[in-house]
Symmetry: C2
Subunit: 572 residues, 2 copies
């Protein structure tokens, strides 16, 4: 698609604006079909974004996107149309707002609920610097469940500045939106809300305007103009309804399935861990009434739809509320239930304090099923799951398991059923299916035992497959080494570690080097005289790109490991 100037947008007729929307939709549809990315969420906000670019003057005015699953039209209208075909590719356009990509992006996002706090900070800075521009926070109704948004709403009166909040209400986060806030919004859309709801917003320091059709320029443009006018004297909440997937019948009918799109045909040799989670939990739940499952707005992508359908009374999707979900699990566990909290690695960061304070502080048998661990690829910095081993390791009472494949994952889930302490199981999105093996808490597995003086401790599917690849290569050179499946990072397998006599030790993990498996092995073998080399990710935020390329670039480089093995072999 060609780049479009502000002047063109400003001078276009409504039919011309509609034509522009068609171009934008077509570009998004084509690009996402080939690159993957967020589809329906972006299709829904095309008119809204065009209208915003007409009424406001970006980048002089600023726009903050909550999460960022709806920023593609903005990218296309801010000089990035001609590059848009590089979406989510290494070095190409990011799928999320990025300050270092364009001056039209004023704040980086990726996790939910940050936009209002960010907009308020920018607004307050503007006031202090006596500058004059407008700030828009575009927030989906799914994010309005999140505690962080509420904390920001609560502080509107404290901060005493002016921002425009656009509540983009499509009734969905990734899954349909749930909860009390959603009920209130539904009432407002249904016309069941009263003047008093408006008064409530006023008490929080907001002038409410709504509800407008966010896919219709005839409603949108005057509403935005009026909101901009009001913004001179107060904070404004503009409530617009949009249709997720608008413009493509299939997306409109299946907004959940088309929220995010994977670019390539599925690799049939690799299965999703989430599928195994769903199967195993359903099996366990069939004979164990203590089993309950909790998710934070991602039931489908975590593989739990069938569980939710089969055991609706024992399945809780609490919306984008990662902290609340943790405490809820802790409390369920105090009463003898067996909660499984399924979540992506990067989003669990939100519940860090609750893992410590509520779950592990009380030593409660909550099982964290941590999906999308390791480098996740095309979503970039805000979605890599490379910190979990580090931030979990430091927590007392927590057992940390890293399955080597899906069979072992199943075995760990079965083991967890009668385990009476907090347990974290972290795994990547996809991997190899296999028969469930025998797993014991805190016991690692000797995968290849050799007489060599070199031993590799490898964690998880990524670590182990790299170790195996390297082994296949060096075996041709007459070199061999022992491989341990470091399937429990905590408690560490002291017995096995003490028993190993190899002088040369290598650790491989799909996690940041700081604080992970490598550090644990270093600590254990301190002063042992062993020569150790750690492979994991260097201390950096890892951008979007191809998973295996990023792994290589950021520290899991097979050639370097090979080199290290050869060096060790030569030193013997």
């Amino acid at each position: 698609m060609r780049n479009v100037s502000k002047h063109e947008i400003d001078s276009a007729s409504i039919p011309q604006l509609k034509q522009l929307c068609e171009e934008i939709r077509s570009e998004i549809f084509c690009t996402v079909s080939s690159c993957g990315g967020h589809l329906s969420s972006n299709l829904g906000v095309v008119e809204l974004t065009v209208a915003l670019h007409r009424v406001f003057d970006f980048p002089h005015d600023k726009i903050v996107f909550d999460v960022g699953h709806q920023c593609y039209p903005h990218k296309l209208l801010s000089g990035r149309a001609e590059n848009f075909h590089t979406l989510r590719k290494a070095g190409g356009i990011s799928g999320f707002p990025k300050r270092n990509e364009s001056i039209y992006d004023c704040y980086d996002t990726g996790h939910a609920g940050t936009a209002l706090s960010a907009a308020l900070g920018i607004a307050k800075a503007r006031d202090l610097k006596h500058e004059n521009f407008e700030i828009v926070a575009l927030i989906g109704d799914g994010s309005f469940n999140n505690g962080l948004i509420f904390e920001a709403l609560n502080s509107l009166r404290i901060l005493n500045t002016r921002v425009l909040i656009i509540l983009n209400d499509n009734g969905m986060s990734i899954s349909p939106t749930v909860g009390g806030t959603h009920e209130v919004l539904k009432d407002m859309k249904d016309g069941a809300a009263s003047i008093d709801d408006v008064r409530l917003f006023e008490r929080f320091g907001l002038s409410y305007m709504g509800v407008f059709n966010g896919n219709d320029f005839n409603e949108l443009l005057p509403a935005l103009e009026q909101a901009k006018e009001r913004l001179n004297s107060q904070n404004v909440l503009l409530h617009v309804c949009t249709k997720k997937g608008q413009g493509y019948a299939f997306c409109e009918h299946e907004p959940q399935e088309t929220h995010g799109i994977s670019p390539h045909a599925k690799d049939i040799t690799r299965k999703e861990y989430s599928h195994a989670l769903g199967e195993e939990l359903s099996l366990l739940a069939a004979t164990d009434e203590r089993i309950v499952a909790v998710t934070a707005a991602m039931t489908d992508s975590l593989g739990l739809r069938d569980f939710f359908n089969s055991y609706p009374e024992r399945a809780f999707d609490v919306g984008i509320c990662e902290e609340h979900a943790s405490v809820l699990c802790a409390a369920l566990a105090t009463q003898g239930l067996k909660p499984y909290y399924a979540i992506y690695s990067t989003f669990l960061q939100r519940a860090f304090d609750e893992i410590i304070h509520d779950v592990c502080g009380q030593d409660l048998p909550v099982t964290f099923c941590i999906d999308r661990a390791g480098i996740t690829g095309a979503d970039g910095e805000t979605h890599q799951g490379v910190f979990d081993l580090s931030y979990l390791s430091l927590i007392p009472n927590l057992t940390i398991a890293i399955p080597k494949d899906i069979g072992e994952f199943r075995a760990m889930l079965r083991l967890s059923q009668n385990y009476s302490h907090p347990l974290a199981i972290r795994y990547p999105r996809a991997g190899i299916e296999s028969a469930p093996n025998h797993v014991e808490i805190g016991k690692c597995e000797l995968l290849h035992s050799t007489l060599s003086d070199i031993i590799v401790f490898a964690a998880g599917e990524t670590g182990i497959s790299i170790a195996e690849n390297v082994r296949n290569k060096v075996q041709k050179e007459g070199i061999d080494f022992t491989i341990v499946n470091a399937r429990f990072l905590k408690p560490i397998d002291a017995e096995l570690l003490l028993s190993r006599k190899e002088k040369y030790v290598i650790t491989i993990e799909d996690n940041a080097l700081i604080g992970g498996l490598g550090d644990a092995i270093n600590r254990f073998y301190l002063n042992s005289g062993k020569i150790i080399c750690n492979f994991g990710y260097r201390d950096a935020f890892i951008p979007h790109g191809d998973i295996s390329l990023l792994q290589t670039q950021y520290g899991l480089n097979e050639d370097k490991i090979l080199e290290c093995i050869r060096k060790f072999y030569a030193c013997r």
Copy 2:
């Protein structure tokens, strides 16, 4: 005070209940005067707690306290009166609810905002197990600002169970409550609220009852009876007003100053770091308009009252909203301002994701002033600041500074003014004042350089004072060692570390062993042939007790360090 039976409370006349309240107040006042603890918050809820013990049947029914600053009357009425004089002492009664202390405590707390999620989890478990008891969540209005409470409110309709929320509204958290929620509550108290506010609660799945005088049995008892009745069919929010400090004129007039009480006369040789923070920030702000300060409801205890008074337009107390405060700082920094976010170590855990996602992910110059680091003593497990070096170390782009005394802290704050990356400075509550020295980012300080083959890397005031003490002792034996003030954990001082030729290395830090300074030194000196010994806290939650005793018990044992030095000396 004697233990009081449920039967006594049930059969007492109102004058007898009042008499009981006097006894409870007197016991709390005397005990807190000698042991320290939370005073005004507990004095305010005496009648409420007595009334709850009359209307409900604990421990069959359950009560969850938010934070726990108001649980003393409950402890006195649940068989712990005769032991109450051991409050906050090692092995004695905890200042917070503790499941392992009494079956009357069903959920451990210490951080704000968890009570409603916890109550809902317990209620849901009750329903699934077909049990029959009532659950009360006692929540102060200060906590109602917290995002976690909102997430739990949002899920009332999802979870479909029944709990009684008592909103204990005294207009205060530790500081006066602030924000939009507070405005709404104030309206309700002032009678300015309408039937529609009640309807709003109903949409969230709550039946609202209020406002009642929480210090008056004649209002309280019938209100609680009615709430209990309603609880048969729905969730209930009972809004009661209490007077913080009730019963002691000084506490009523100075609720903020008497919220928490220290037991002993002040050690005049030790100053508060918070005082230096206030002084330095005020000085910097006088000539630098970029400086802004942000707190989450603890302005006074962080030393920033004067700053807030002098620069009200650049000072933001956002209430108990640690996450929002972080994002706000990040956004202010995107616009060229210089935010200082002052917070206790343990509470910063709440903002872990925002430190990663918002501040460090965008490499923004926010300075975290992290008070109460290390073992903090009498508040116990939920308040020890022993994880921060670990959870901060793993975050890219973050510089971590650990001042050795207050002078160095001042120097670091001055240095921070023109530092353009995220910076965390962590320090204990109190320490030694000194003249500000010269500090450079990433440069450690050689405190005592000797010709010995032993070097000690000590972090912070606690680490260094232990190192100095040990040195004073071994010097009498003719042994000496070098001491490095490891004032930057990140970036590590590679130049200094590489230059040191000592074979024997010791690390000392007032932090968990996992993930802290020790691990960083181990990683750096991997395969160097050095013999290393790490001293820090073992992998456990550290209970309440005397600070220096706990330090010794959990891993900073001077005798063991002494022993290690002697062993190293003998090995040379």
